[in-house]
Symmetry: C2
Subunit: 332 residues, 2 copies
Amino acid sequence: MPELRKDPIIGRWVIISSERAKRPSSFRPVSEKKEATQCPFCPGHESHTPPEIIAYRDSTSEPNQKGWSLRVISNKYPALIVEGELTREPKGLYDRMNGIGAHEVIIESPEHSRDIVDMTDEQVRDIFWVYRERMLDLERDSRLKYILVFKNHGEAAGASLEHAHSQLIATPIIPKRVAEELEGAEKYFKFKERCIYCDIIRQEISDQERIVADFDSFITVQPFAPRFPFETWILPKSHQSSYIEMSDEDYLILARCMKDALKRLKVALNDPPFNFMIHTRPVSKKSQDYYHWHIEIIPKLTKIAGFEWGAGFYINPTTPEEAATYLKEISL
Amino acid sequence: MPELRKDPIIGRWVIISSERAKRPSSFRPVSEKKEATQCPFCPGHESHTPPEIIAYRDSTSEPNQKGWSLRVISNKYPALIVEGELTREPKGLYDRMNGIGAHEVIIESPEHSRDIVDMTDEQVRDIFWVYRERMLDLERDSRLKYILVFKNHGEAAGASLEHAHSQLIATPIIPKRVAEELEGAEKYFKFKERCIYCDIIRQEISDQERIVADFDSFITVQPFAPRFPFETWILPKSHQSSYIEMSDEDYLILARCMKDALKRLKVALNDPPFNFMIHTRPVSKKSQDYYHWHIEIIPKLTKIAGFEWGAGFYINPTTPEEAATYLKEISL
């Protein structure tokens, strides 16, 4: 059973994942570049993965068989597990909890080598739609406080399998990075009585220095204070605190916007490894005035070194204004 | 001139470093494994570096010539620069500051291939002593709020030159990671009227589960909630809020303790890339009841992926108890 432990000084929780236990000698990097014939995510290999939680498939096909266009499964090596009771206990001055949660994998396409940038708009819309379905389902589990959807693309960004997939981890606490955003946004709202993200969008539209693309309901921007070169955010233009509050049509527009952003990064930076993550409000029934959901995309171009780890302070060699100019000039 | 920018939501500052500006095509990894004959840090190549700030050298030798055993220079590609005025100004709802600070390189030995683990205790003591000298000097600059000393060892840990060196960056704000520790430690002190680090040390000595080594004035432990496998902390056993408060003799004991910790990690993990950083109280004349300086060592064994970036929540595949057992069993 994985375990959650809390740093007593700064209050950061970590997952000690015994299911993924490693001996010192097993830390040498192993590349798992598998051919389609060996890939557990390819059609025909459904029995190599845990059974599917949900799949979009031909009405004639059977669960856990070929015939699907998108498939959600439990992670075979989960960081957190669904079964069990959520117990929290002290250990002297320390705190620990059972590693309760959910860890799912979204297999985005049956084709081994098809990434989001090569899919049709409707295929990408389905990916965004299934995130919503899983969030709605998991929100009913009262042990869970947060659901984080993210994608690792490329080995340097942490992907262990090449076949296009994203992941979802539901946690029994609100993760630190999200808690910081909630706190900052609430503080701003108390002072200004406005959503800080809405104010940022207004300023970006007026400045026109960091906007990469504008899609009806969404904008793609380089943030003013990016940690990483070419860090890119996608935000809904109207106020929405949760990803699941989007209108049905907006999932298709978001798909177009995401494809556009990823294509620009791919061309500008020679197909870089990247991560994206969806930041939405914590699990709860009510929407919030002060928080605004969004997607952060971070291409993996620089190394994180001692200064960044020690300070939590990032050195970024590219201004977001330059990055926005490069990305806008890409002709697709 | 580099620039400091503040994320308006979570308040994190970043350095936008124009001196290190990169075009999109220049992000491809470049290995700078230089032979001693080309290494700017080797004796005889003093003119290839900025002039020295301080050096330990033969009394007969001249500054910026051969004859030194340790040398401190300004970083040729500084993240922050010393010259100029510290101005802070708004940009709509955003905040920016001039990139004022200091960025120095400590060349730890004249020998190209001698790492800390291979040096004499006295050589390592000198490294720790020169950190202190630089801190004392920089503390007199009223524009600076924090001095962070750190080391990147190995390319994967961000080292761009092989010759053993550490670095120091002085910043005009207190870095986020340190501010979080100060805040957490102060909160605990207000509640308990005790230093949380002193309490941790007491509990670790009583538990005997995570201690790797005990050196008179210092202990080496695996923290209870480590972000990374084999993350290792060195703490002074008696209460000291600042690195510069150590007794003169303790610099030598710290040298022995650090050599011991790095040797154990080297043997257990096959010479891993690593970072270490010294966390001490911010620049100010008075010592603090609630903060306790320490060193964090993080071997680079796992990849940081979307979940970690999105959540600020780390998944660690090795328990600190297992790691402590492995490290203790290494015979040196």
